[in-house]
Subunit: 461 residues, 2 copies
C-alpha cells in the first residue's frame, strides 16, 4: 500500500510529486498522455509567446502614438515556429525534471477507482492510503463542429499551425478566446468572435466591462449572444452560418479556420469516482472543500483544473503542494489555501480580477465602496501612448478593508500582484494610501482609484 | 506673522502648500522662476516621454526577437515636438492648479533669511512662525564647458532641441545621464559617455552593476574614469578631447552636442541660511534630521531635492506634506518619513534600488544574505524576448527580514513597488514566499531570488 498515489502529471500533479518525494519514497504517480503540463504545452506558455509577438507588432504598428512615423513591412511567417521553439524549450524543461524521477514511481496509463483505496491501471490494481487527483481538463468538444475536420482548432491544436491563418472565427469570449483572438488580430489575421454571452473575459464590473468592450469593438468583429448555427467546409474555406442578432437575418462568413474556445471539460469522469460513492457520478457537484480540496471526508484531494472555478497555474501548483501535507497528516486536514484569488487575462491592455469580483460582492449583498480611476489621462499611461481603460477597487464600506479589484489597463498584471499581496496582508484603505507610489508610474493610477474610494468613504462619515 | 512661509513652488513646495491651505489661510508661498515643477518641466516627465519613444522604437527594431522579420523605415523628426507637447500638457496641469490658489498667498521673487523668523523678498520683509524650504536644485554648471555656448546642453535645455542631434557626448553616468544617453542611442543618435566614475547609475552591487555594464557596453561607447580635458567649438561640431584611459593617448571625438549631466546643485545657498546661524553657511553639512527634515531645532524644514540623497518626486511630495504637519505642531515634531527608499532608473531594462543598497549593507557590516536570480532564462522574460539582467534581494541573516534589493530587469519598476510595499510591512522571507506569484510573470523571477536566499539561510541553519 502506497502512502500517496497521484493521478495526473500536470502542474498540480508535478507539484504534488515534488512535495511528496521530500517526505516518502512510497509513492506512485500515474499519468495518461504527455508527461508535461497543459500550461507549458498548450496553455500559458504558447499563448504568451503568441501574444508577445502580437503585442510587439502592434506596438511597432502604432509608433505614431509616440511621435514616430514609420514605414513597416513585416513577415510573420516565423511567428508560429518561434512559438513552438520556445514552447518546446519550456516543455523539455518539464520533461527533464520528470525524467529525473525514479522509474518505480511512474506509471503510464488511465487510472480508475475500484474502491476508496484501490485503483486500476492497465489491468493492474494499486492501493494507497491517500490519493491526489490531478487529471486536469481538456478543451470542450462539439461533435457537430468537428465535421469540418482539421479546420476546427482548439487551444490544443492551434499552436501546431505552421503558419498564421488568413482568417479565423473564434467561438467563445472567455479568457483563452479573448487572448488568442486579439493576438491573432494584432498579427494581421482577420478575426470574428462569436460569443454565447455578452461579456468579454473575466471582468464582471459593468464599468470595466464596458471599457473592455469599447476597445475590443474598435478592433474586432464581435457577435455577442450568437453561436454559429452551422459550420461547413467549402473547398478552401469554412462557411460559418449564424443568425444576426440585430436584424434576425441568417448570415454567413467564410474563414480559413474556426477556433472552438467555448471552455474546458474536467477529465474527472475517467476516474470512476462513483465506485467510491455512487453520488460521485455527478462530477459537477462533488462535495469538495474549497480551501483544502478534500473530497468529502476521504483522504482524497482533487487539485488543479480538474475541479476549480479558477483554472490558474499558480493555484494548481499550490493545491498540489498542500494536498500532500494533508495526505500525510490525514485525518487531520489543516493545510489550507490562503492565496487571495488572482486572475489575469493577457490581452492588450491586460484584464485582471483580484480578490472578490464586483459581481461576487453584489451577489453577496456586501456593503462596499467602489473607487475608480480612468487611465485615459493617467500620466505614465499617456507617456507610453497606452492611455486606455481603468481600474476599480473595492472596499468594505464599514471596515475599509480591501476586498478586491477589477483592472483593465496596460501592465495590469503588476498592479494585480500589488493588490493580491495587499489582500493577503488584509490591508485597509489607509494602509494602502500610506505606501510609496513612485513617479511617474502606472501605480499612481491605482492610488487615484484609492483616493476616489477614500473621498466617498470620508464624505459618508 | 504668517503661520507658514513656503519657499519654492516645485513638487515639494506645491505639496506643502496644498497641505497647509487645508489648515490655515495665514500662509505665503514664494517662488523664483516658473511656477511648475522640475519634474514636469525638465525632469521625470519629458525624460520619460523621450524614453517611451526610444523604447518603442528599439522594440520595433528588434522585432526579430519575437519571430518577426521587419523592414522598418522611421522618421523621428516629431519625437522632440511630442516630448514638448505632452510636457506642456503636464506643466499646464500644474500651472492650472497653482493659478487656482489665492493671489495673496503667492509672491514672485528670491527669498533670503534675515534672521530665523524673517525673510526678505523684493526688498520687503516677511515673518513666519515656521518655514518650509523647498528651493530645489539645478544642473551642475561648468564655466569652462559653457564656452561652447548652446552646444552644451543640460537636462534643463535638452528637451528644447527642435530635432534629435546626430551625435552627442554625455558627461556623467548617473541616473539622468544614463536614461538620456540610452534613450538617445535607441533613437538613432550616436552617443559617447564620459564618466568620472566606473559605475552606471544607482546599482551598488558588483553583480548587478556588471550585468548593467555588460548590456550598456554592447550598445554605447563608454569611457569610464574619464572626464573630457577640453570642449571646443569647431564650425558645426564640438571637439571633445580626453585622455584615453587604456593607452594614455590624447584622443578626440567630434559631436554635435555635449550634455553636461554631472549632477545637480542645491539652490539653498540663495537663502542666506548663515543669517540664522553662521555655521549654516556650510550648506552641505546642515544639521538636518533625515526623517523629519527639520533644520536643527528650528521650526524650519528643508524638503525636496534642495537637500537629499534621494532626489525623487514621490519623496519630495511626501516631505512637503509632513513638514506642514510638523510646522503646525511645532515644537512637537512627530510626523516622520516612513517610506522605504525606492529609486528607479528608466533605462532598458530598468534599474531599481529598494530599501538598503548592497553598499549600504556592506558599509554598515550588516550580516545579510543575498538571493540572486538571473533573468537570462526567466520564463516570461524569455517569452517577451527581454531576458536580460537579474535581481538581488537582501535579507538579515538572523531575522530573515527583508532589507533591500537591487534590480536590473525589464519592468523593474513593478517588482520594486512590490518590494517597497513589502518593506513597509517589515516582511520577512517566509512571508514573501507565501505570496501568490501568477504564472507566467516577471514576478516569478523575484520568487526565484527569494528561494535562492532561502536555500542559503536553510543550509546555514
Amino acid at each position: 500500500m502506497y502512502d500517496i498515489i497521484i493521478i495526473g502529471a500536470g502542474s498540480a500533479g508535478i507539484s504534488a510529486y515534488k512535495q511528496a518525494v521530500k517526505h516518502t519514497d512510497n509513492i506512485l504517480i500515474i499519468n495518461h498522455g504527455p508527461w508535461d503540463t497543459t500550461c507549458a504545452r498548450v496553455g500559458c506558455m504558447p499563448s504568451k509567446l503568441l501574444i508577445s509577438s502580437a503585442n510587439r507588432l502592434h506596438d511597432a504598428q502604432t509608433l505614431e502614438n509616440v511621435g514616430i512615423q514609420a514605414n513597416l513591412k513585416v513577415d510573420t511567417s516565423n511567428v508560429m515556429s518561434r512559438v513552438r521553439k520556445y514552447r518546446d524549450h519550456f516543455t523539455s524543461a518539464v520533461l527533464e525534471d520528470v525524467n529525473s524521477w525514479k522509474d518505480k514511481h511512474k506509471i503510464n496509463g488511465i487510472a480508475s477507482f475500484i474502491d476508496k483505496s484501490t485503483i486500476q491501471v492497465n489491468n493492474q490494481t494499486y492501493q494507497a492510503k491517500s490519493f491526489i487527483l490531478a487529471v486536469g481538463s481538456e478543451p470542450r468538444r462539439n461533435e457537430e463542429w468537428e465535421k469540418i475536420g482539421n479546420r476546427l482548432l482548439t487551444s490544443d491544436t492551434i499552436f501546431e499551425l505552421e503558419q498564421l491563418p488568413q482568417s479565423i472565427a473564434v467561438i467563445g469570449s472567455g479568457s483563452i478566446a479573448t487572448e488568442l483572438a486579439e493576438a491573432l488580430y494584432h498579427l494581421g489575421v482577420e478575426v470574428t468572435i462569436f460569443s454565447r454571452s455578452s461579456h468579454i473575459a473575466i471582468a464582471t464590473s459593468p464599468k470595466i466591462q464596458s471599457l473592455i468592450q469599447e476597445n475590443f469593438n474598435q478592433k474586432l468583429n464581435i457577435h455577442f449572444e450568437t453561436t454559429p448555427t452551422s459550420l461547413t467546409k467549402e473547398k478552401e474555406w469554412v462557411c460559418v452560418k449564424y443568425k444576426n442578432r440585430e436584424n434576425q437575418n441568417e448570415e454567413e462568413i467564410k474563414v480559413e479556420y474556426v477556433l472552438n474556445a467555448t471552455g474546458r471539460t474536467s477529465l474527472l469522469s475517467s476516474l470512476k469516482l462513483e465506485n467510491i460513492e455512487s453520488s460521485f457520478s455527478d462530477i459537477k457537484n462533488l462535495p469538495i472543500d474549497n480551501s483544502t480540496k478534500q473530497l468529502k471526508n476521504y483522504p482524497i484531494f482533487i487539485v488543479g483544473d480538474a475541479y476549480t472555478t479558477t483554472p490558474v497555474q499558480h493555484e494548481a501548483s499550490y493545491e498540489g503542494k498542500i494536498s500532500v501535507n494533508n495526505c500525510l497528516s490525514y485525518p487531520n486536514v489543516n493545510d489550507k489555501k490562503t492565496y487571495p484569488p488572482l486572475s489575469i487575462v493577457f490581452s492588450s491592455p491586460e484584464i485582471a480580477v483580484v480578490g472578490k469580483s464586483y459581481k461576487q460582492l453584489k451577489d453577496a449583498e456586501h456593503k462596499f465602496t467602489v473607487g475608480f480611476a480612468s487611465y485615459t489621462d493617467q500620466g505614465r499611461a499617456t507617456v507610453l501612448g497606452k492611455n486606455i481603460g481603468g481600474i476599480e477597487v473595492y472596499f468594505d464600506s464599514t471596515t475599509q478593508e480591501l476586498l478586491g479589484a477589477e483592472i483593465y489597463v496596460t501592465e495590469a498584471e503588476h498592479l494585480a500582484h500589488l493588490l493580491a499581496w495587499s489582500l493577503s496582508e488584509k490591508a485597509n484603505l489607509k494602509q494602502l494610501l500610506s505606501k510609496p507610489y513612485y513617479h511617474p508610474t502606472l501605480e499612481e493610477g491605482l492610488r487615484t482609484s484609492l483616493r476616489d474610494a477614500y473621498s466617498q468613504l470620508k464624505s459618508s462619515d
